[in-house]
């Protein structure tokens, strides 16, 4: 998660998905994932339909498949966990290629892999079609506490600054011949982390003073109001609603 990620994540565009108000997209993504998670794992076909639904959204948003697949790599640590499951889970066992695998564990692994991948794909699509600022605005519209949204926006805005500061410290260390090779060098790295904290904190104090001198009194001014028409809500909620139909079918069939 380098500093540049925050910019590479968003793909500029003017597709119907891009122009939707942020809070409708956030709500749609969240509801979609919720529906996916509550689908029974035995309904294998339902997950295929979900994947098709997401592919349709990606197509509408003109997000290339390669971009989406590369971003899915973030899931890899949990894939490892899922691969272990058939070996350690309880219950009746089957033999595949000379390995003793738990049936229950196989279902569990499938469950985690399918739902996790769909969840990651939904979040990646959301982040790829929504600008950072818009995303924060959307969170505020969805009635997250304003203070929390402010903190998040400061974190996002200054994240790059702080990471750059860390990078400069690394370059400074490297240019003095330091190379971290093992546990013995933790002291130096920890001192850098400490210095980074002090710099971040002091910057926070300066930012606060600058804000106060510009008339800040606890809340940020609202520059643009994010509003959504019923038609936009309908378009955004089409995804979770169709997913819900699939989910209900999955429970009944």
């Amino acid at each position: 998660m380098g500093a540049g990620h925050a910019h590479r994540l968003y793909r500029r565009g003017d597709s119907p998905v891009h122009t939707l108000p942020p809070h409708t997209k956030l709500a749609a993504a969240f509801l979609f994932v919720l529906v996916v998670v509550s689908t029974p794992r035995e309904a294998v076909w339902a997950f295929a339909v979900y994947a098709v639904l997401l592919a349709v959204v990606a197509r509408l948003a003109r997000v290339p498949a390669r971009f989406l697949l590369r971003r899915l790599l973030i899931e890899v640590p949990f894939v490892a966990f899922a691969v272990l499951m058939p070996f350690v889970a309880e219950g009746e066992r089957v033999h595949v290629l000379g390995l003793s695998l738990s049936v229950n564990g196989l279902w569990g692994a499938w469950n985690v892999l399918a739902k996790g991948t769909l969840g990651v794909a939904a979040s990646v699509l959301l982040a790829a079609t929504t600008e950072l600022r818009q995303l924060l605005l959307g969170l505020e519209r969805l009635k997250l506490p304003p203070l929390l949204v402010q903190i998040a926006s400061f974190m996002i805005r200054y994240g790059d600054v702080i990471t750059d500061e860390m990078r400069r410290m690394r370059i400074a260390r490297a240019s003095r011949g330091f190379e971290a090779r093992g546990v013995r060098h933790w002291g130096v790295l920890a001192k850098s982390a400490g210095a980074l904290f002090i710099r971040s904190y002091e910057r926070g104090e300066r930012v606060h003073l600058a804000m106060v001198s510009r008339g800040y009194a606890g809340s940020m001014p609202v520059i643009e109001e994010a509003t959504a028409s019923p038609a936009q809500w309908r378009l955004a909620l089409a995804l979770p609603c169709s997913a819900l139909v699939v989910c209900l079918l999955g429970w009944t069939l």
């Binding site: 956030l26 229950n104 569990g108 930012v207």
Partner: protein, 347 residues
């Protein structure tokens, strides 16, 4: 350790979501008390710091490296409320922006990684500071132990959540052994780095370390060639000493108890395992295991490690209990303090 979607079932995710929302509401109010109207920029910058420091790689050996989780560090540096808030914001942004951790698993992730780590580490930290002599070294030692316990505590919390709402029935003993075993190792790294970092900050700006506020030198004035303490509301030293003894005794007793009780408790197989044994499921599994499964050696390692993990769980349990008690204590004391001496706090 970011939990993805589908790992924990929907009802449990909803419950942990409610817990996380409650924790956020409490910590928003608490952070406003810790930082007053500077909350937004300062907490935001500290969150950015935690986000950045999680990317700082600490080489271990032979090409492997680890990184800081930051819950304990945040709690010690900026206080428990702001700590919970900052780590939660980091997790929220990682979930929404970077698809790191599922959207429906946000509640689990915040409860586990923001709430449990911060609260356990801060409680252990305060308890140790109350016991240890005043000084910089004590702060370092306390932050070492606090950070060390916070990571397995998160693993225990995750195991509990998994026991309630896991989507696969892996036996709890195995999950607990694997999770706690790995996280004890991670905890050692976390502890060393946290202690070193806190030490580095204390060396430069001790006033910034929330956990080291008691260390601050009192203002002394030279009056007629003699050093005199500046008139500040001073706490009664006698009461403090006796309380320290009480703290030490209580903590030692409960740690010993937790260790012993859990040792005997985990020496016996639990109900589920016993049922499995009686039903013969167990023997079938053993037979398969010895039939050439790559995990044949698991059973032995399982038993010998379970005592350790049980004892550890007990110690962490003490930590959690200390939190609950201290929370009530501090709430009551804080209110009483406000009522009694509004002038002192102004100074």
């Amino acid at each position: 350790m970011h939990v993805p979607d589908g790992f924990i079932d929907a009802p449990t995710s909803a419950v942990t979501g409610v817990v996380a929302a409650g924790a956020l509401a409490v910590s928003l109010r608490g952070a406003r008390r810790e930082l007053d109207e500077r909350t937004a920029p300062l907490a935001g910058l500290v969150a950015a710091f935690i986000f950045a420091v999680q990317m700082l790689n600490f080489p271990v050996a032979a090409g492997t490296s680890g990184h800081l989780l930051g819950g304990a560090l945040a709690a010690i540096l900026v206080g428990p409320y702001t700590g919970v808030l900052c780590v939660s914001v980091v997790l929220l942004m990682q979930g929404v922006l970077f698809a790191d951790g599922g959207l429906t698993a946000l509640g689990v992730n915040i409860t586990d990684m923001a709430l449990v780590t911060t609260v356990v580490s801060y409680a252990v930290f305060r308890a140790l500071l109350a016991v240890l002599p005043r000084g910089r070294r004590s702060v370092t030692v306390a932050s070492f132990v606090a950070a060390f316990l916070s990571v397995p505590a998160a693993a225990v919390a995750f195991t509990l959540v998994y026991a309630v709402g896991g989507t696969t029935d892996v036996s709890m003993g195995k999950v607990a052994t694997a999770m706690i075993g790995v996280h004890v190792l991670i905890g050692v790294g976390e502890a060393v780095i946290t202690a070193l970092t806190v030490g580095a900050v204390i060396a430069v700006r001790p006033d910034l370390v929330h956990g080291a506020r008691g260390l601050r030198q009192r203002l002394r004035l030279r009056v007629a060639g003699e050093l005199v303490d500046a008139p500040v509301g001073t706490p009664a030293p006698a009461a403090r000493a006796s309380r320290r003894g009480l703290w030490a005794g209580g903590l030692a007793a409960s740690l010993v108890l937790a260790g012993f009780v859990s040792f005997y408790a985990s020496a016996n197989p639990d109900g589920l395992e016993k049922v499995a044994h009686d039903r013969g499921i167990d023997t079938k599994e053993k037979e398969h295991a010895s039939a050439g499964s790559p995990l044949a050696g698991y059973g032995v390692a399982d038993v010998s490690d379970q005592r350790l993990s049980g004892g550890l769980a007990g110690v962490i349990g003490v930590g959690v209990t200390v939190v609950a008690g201290s929370a009530v204590f501090w709430a009551v004391r804080g209110r009483r303090g406000e009522d009694a001496s509004p002038v002192d706090s102004g100074l």
